[in-house]
Point group: C2
Chain length 503, copies 2
């Protein structure tokens, strides 16, 4: 072992400890939202804060910076895609970003976000935006301080975007979003009469929904050796190890939303599950960006999970699970109901066509808030005005309006666009998978989901953070970010749905 190899070993050792702390903090969060007795909350907050703080100290330790400097020649001796070069490169990127932010500012942001969350709950309960306003003011102020740490020479919003979508520029997002807006607004206007989705409402025993969901997920590639599915209030997915994937959902007995959220979270889980296990306990062992992560969940939820071919295989099983509700319903009627297009007040209830408009209006408002062209005091009105402009709906109160999402209250400015990017990327990947694998619909009708699962593993998942999001998209989808495949997909889907609506 040479001195340099020993230094690389030391680096990997340090990174392993940081990863262990982060995963342990992840378990504290998972447990809090799925298992913890409610009175455990105050101590849990302390436990999470302590682990996060220690992890941050290790991430910004001067010794880590020295190791990274010493390992520059080592990095250059290895291929760019190699484990060795990638560990050093990605760690350096994280380190250089982390040390720019004073620990005190970071702690302040965390604390304000946590108070903001509680104020958000209270503001909602009282339908009173003013309860939240001071914390939003503080959060935005801290966000501006955070941006200033990076001395941006371009759009300051780039700094926020980079947290979730490394390397992406605001101008690129804007170009894609302008194109989406241009097409989606007339598309929605053309949907005169929403399809009937009555078959999706009724009584669906949660235990039966769980059984059906697990049946689907196991068919798609989940197994008990490495995955779990638990109940929670706000569904999420989490990886505690390459082979310890936690999905969560929320089954309500009045509809099947919980089943669809399982399909969505499965996409997140599968991404983490298929990252090269050699990257475990290093910063490479995560999805490369929020947009890419969202592309995986939206792909399984929408492109697979709202696909008529999939339901030609699954619907008999669903009918066997809920004979009363579905014995008189055709798979075509069910599929149309699942794809009903209609503007909704809440982002989380929205369909594939209107979803991106919810995102675009938030992206535009975030930029206006950051630049100061919209004041936080005027945000509720600005939000309602955009809702009316893009979706033709006017919120009746702030809970239906600006308070519907928690992100801003927690200081999460810059996250929203990644949801829409995920939709766009999902169809870019899908088209390439279909080109490589042949007719996916035919396979789905036979219950064959493994080829897609494996294609995604080979072309997207296994890379972890080795490639940048831009490189990954280029290699996996064969081109840069492009709204056209997504728009074409939506057009085809609408044609199909409305052509069949009388059948």
């Amino acid at each position: 072992v040479t001195g340099t190899e020993q230094r690389f070993h030391d680096l990997v050792q340090r990174l392993g400890e940081i990863a262990d702390l982060e995963r342990a903090a992840g378990l504290l969060g998972w447990d809090e939202e799925t298992k913890m007795p409610p009175l455990g909350a105050p101590e849990r907050a302390e436990q999470r804060a302590t682990l996060t703080r220690i992890a941050h100290e290790l991430e910004t330790a001067p010794e880590l910076g020295e190791l990274l400097e010493e390992l520059r020649p080592f990095e250059e001796q290895h291929d760019r895609d190699s484990f060795e070069a990638s560990v050093v490169r990605i760690t350096r990127r994280d380190y250089e970003k982390a040390v720019r932010v004073p620990a005190e500012l970071r702690a302040d942001m965390t604390r304000t976000g946590s108070h903001g969350y509680r104020a958000w709950l209270e503001a909602r309960a009282n339908k009173d935006y003013r309860i939240l306003l001071p914390l939003l003011e503080r959060g935005l102020e801290l966000t501006r301080e955070y941006v200033a740490c990076f001395e941006p020479d371009g759009d300051p919003y780039d700094v926020l975007l980079d947290v979730y979508e490394p390397g992406m520029k605001t101008a690129e997002v804007e170009a894609v979003f302008d194109r989406l807006k241009e097409e989606l607004l007339p598309m929605i206007a053309a949907v005169s009469e929403p399809v009937d989705d009555g078959c999706l409402h009724g009584r669906f025993a949660p235990e039966a929904q769980r059984r059906f969901s697990l049946e689907v997920l196991e068919l798609w590639g989940m197994d008990e050796e490495a995955w779990r599915l638990d109940d929670t209030v706000h569904p999420f997915a989490l990886s505690l190890a390459p082979a310890d994937i936690r999905l969560t959902t929320n089954f309500r007995d009045s509809d099947l939303h919980g089943v669809l959220s399982c399909l969505h979270e499965f996409g997140h889980g599968l991404y983490e599950r298929q990252i090269d296990p050699a990257y475990a306990r290093t910063p490479l062992a995560r999805g490369v960006s929020s947009g890419f992560h969202e592309s995986q969940s939206r792909l399984w939820e929408n492109l697979v999970g709202r696909n008529i071919a999939t339901w030609r295989f699954l619907f008999p099983r669903l009918r066997a699970t809920f004979p009363e509700q579905f014995s008189a319903v055709s798979v075509e009627t069910f599929h149309r109901a699942l794809n009903r297009v209609e503007p909704t007040m809440r982002r989380v209830d929205s369909d594939e066509v209107t979803y991106c408009l919810h995102i675009i209006l938030r992206f535009e408002l975030e930029r206006d808030l950051l630049s100061g062209s919209v004041a936080l005091a005027d945000l509720p009105d600005a939000f309602d005005a955009k809702m009316e402009e893009y979706l033709g709906l006017r919120p009746n109160d702030v809970v239906e309006g600006v308070l519907q999402d928690v992100h801003w209250s927690e200081g999460g400015f810059g996250y929203f666009p990644t949801y829409a990017l995920g939709n766009v990327i999902s169809v870019q990947l899908w088209e390439r998978a279909a080109a490589d694998l042949g007719d996916l619909d035919e396979r789905f009708e036979r219950g064959e989901f493994a080829p897609l699962h494996e294609w995604l593993g080979e072309n997207v998942h296994r890379w972890g953070r080795v490639l940048t999001p831009q490189e990954l998209l280029e290699r996996a989808a064969g081109g840069p970010l492009d709204a056209e495949p997504y728009l074409a997909y939506l057009r085809r889907k609408l044609d199909q749905l409305y052509a069949g609506a009388v059948g």
Copy 2:
């Protein structure tokens, strides 16, 4: 705020972080044994090791030692039982012990214990003690090194005992155990014919056992706001916060052992639940010793849970849960079955009378191993010989014999005696509670368990580690460790059971 008060605040802050890491490590363990998908195991071991290591670094940090030195006058200004003096005193005790042990030795012990556990599983699977022997040798060697760190001038076993039973001396344990042996051996010999416990065998649906157990535990003081009950392989209890108590059990459909293990673990949980919440996130917020902890679990399992008065209230509920099994069984027959006395091969299956003999033989063997008068190579034979001498049973193989318990394989020398001390202490406390509260049986027959629950909170639990085990026993039970109440209780019980056996 004076400088000294600021220093005390700094100390409490540091202790809070250590506590957070320890509880987070606790959650990693709980999850591993109750929820984790099996393939998550390798990373989980790393995560636990990292958190434990960081906690140990913080516990032995020179800055902590300096703080403790500076706070000597502050400690003296406060009452001995006060929060302030107790935090400093107990932290100093822990610190002075921790810094005697080199980090490398501690890591070696943990690693060897972990390998020992796996070797134990393999040795059991192959019924071959030789598979385990090298790891036992290594574990004992490290144990001797650990003992040497404390340069003991008395019995070296005192050092091991002190890990679990702070301040207790081997000679005290020996005196109590000699007395137990003297009485228990003839007591067991006098039980000619074991009572019929046929009613405890049959088919008991685990879900029904769970419902019944929760019904009992809620009656005893468990509530969903602060407690959980989960399934596991080897039952245990854990506290993640004063109001986050995790019980685990293992319901088998062939008997009611899982119900009894719930009652046992409840005792551990209640202890942690009733520690003064002001001690949270300090070293005071734990049970004071293993023996005291065990006294609480044995008290609820045996003195309450195997009590005819308790079952006069509970049996109709049990019968409603399992009408087929119990409709033709009287509460007296059930109670006698629950208290059947008969030597068993396995410690964990043993009754109240024979239990202590299982412990005593292990205690004697541990001392012989430590002194070298028994070699590890000869341990299986020595174990079998003691089993025959004390319980009249000869193990058929090493799985029935020396491999039945995991403790030694993991390096846990010194733990066993605390089980028997728990039995002894449980009756000492019980007698005092009965003296203070009047006829407990009458209360139990009416379903009133709260007075005992509260008495234990006030007299034992709330203290945490503020009092030493010796002080706590003196204050709560009014005297030093004493085997006589326990022996008298067993005599009364045997008389009652055998007097009623023909009724």
